[in-house]
Assembly symmetry: C2
Amino acid sequence: MSHIHLHRVLPYSKRLMNAVVLPGETVIDATAGNGNDTYFLAELVGEKGKVFAFDIQESALAATAERLGPLNDRVSYHLDSHANVDRYVERPIGGAMFNLGYLPYSEDKTIITKPDSTIEAVHKILGLLKKGGIITISVYDGHEGGKEESDALIEYVQSLHQADVHVIRYELMNLRNNPPFLIAIEKLRDFEEVTRIERTES
Amino acid sequence: MSHIHLHRVLPYSKRLMNAVVLPGETVIDATAGNGNDTYFLAELVGEKGKVFAFDIQESALAATAERLGPLNDRVSYHLDSHANVDRYVERPIGGAMFNLGYLPYSEDKTIITKPDSTIEAVHKILGLLKKGGIITISVYDGHEGGKEESDALIEYVQSLHQADVHVIRYELMNLRNNPPFLIAIEKLRDFEEVTRIERTES
């Protein structure tokens, strides 16, 4: 059904990347996982582009490298927390994708993304992003620790100044089986560090 | 800033209508208000199309008719509840727009849309809609009675079968001044009455 306009979260996040990332740009897969987004991004940036792929699990990076095949020369792999993204990546980047939670199909579901490092990574990537670039974050909150992470992330994004970024929440409301919801952040003007404000109103 | 991809709710709802409504089709403005959506829809359907505009306040229909000017011959006005939409409109329609709450700039803010009639109207319009058509509902819940209406509407749309429709919630997360959120419903297959199901999971 390619005619659907109200897409599920994962295809919608790809459409956003597709709308803003240009061939030859640098982009980030903050949670390489099984490599699906890395592959999508490697195709998107083309042969002159570069994808920085992060994961804290060696098995994830191995699976991603296998998935990428001939596109591996467009990818730079980092077995490190995405919170350290600024050690490897230089401004400007065209976009970044996160899939929170645990590694899909993993046997060890205790290895999950955590609020502090997720927020630190998002905050740093906002500084690295080009004006007009977008960060997509697919949030799963059904697992242990998931709600804590999503609450912290929501509080963080609500503190971002509306002159700096637009932040949307997008979700399908009538699907079973706890689908993810999407938080997407678009950078509206050039800055090296996004402004955080105290919310006192409602 | 026409390059923004993460639009606010009102422009996003117009983009959805723009994507699915064809010239010459019939569409519905379920809450004519000051006529902004009626005008947008009248332009969208073109000179062979028709907009059915509903409002329970005569002043709203008068303001809308004034706003429409030369496009008035594309509009059929109904001083009646949108819950009675099926008395006036025949299948199929291309799309429908709702703006819940009270009439903007009205002195009497006690005249508001109500849960039962809103849900009845949405339910009937889902039957009237073409396959692939979309209903957009901009929900304001900051006023007295607003939260009650949005909660009832959310419960209703969550009961719609995922094989019949996709329902999304879309909102800006970091704007001040209580902006509306959007509920949009896309009809995935042809039916005369949408299936409601009991949700027992989570």
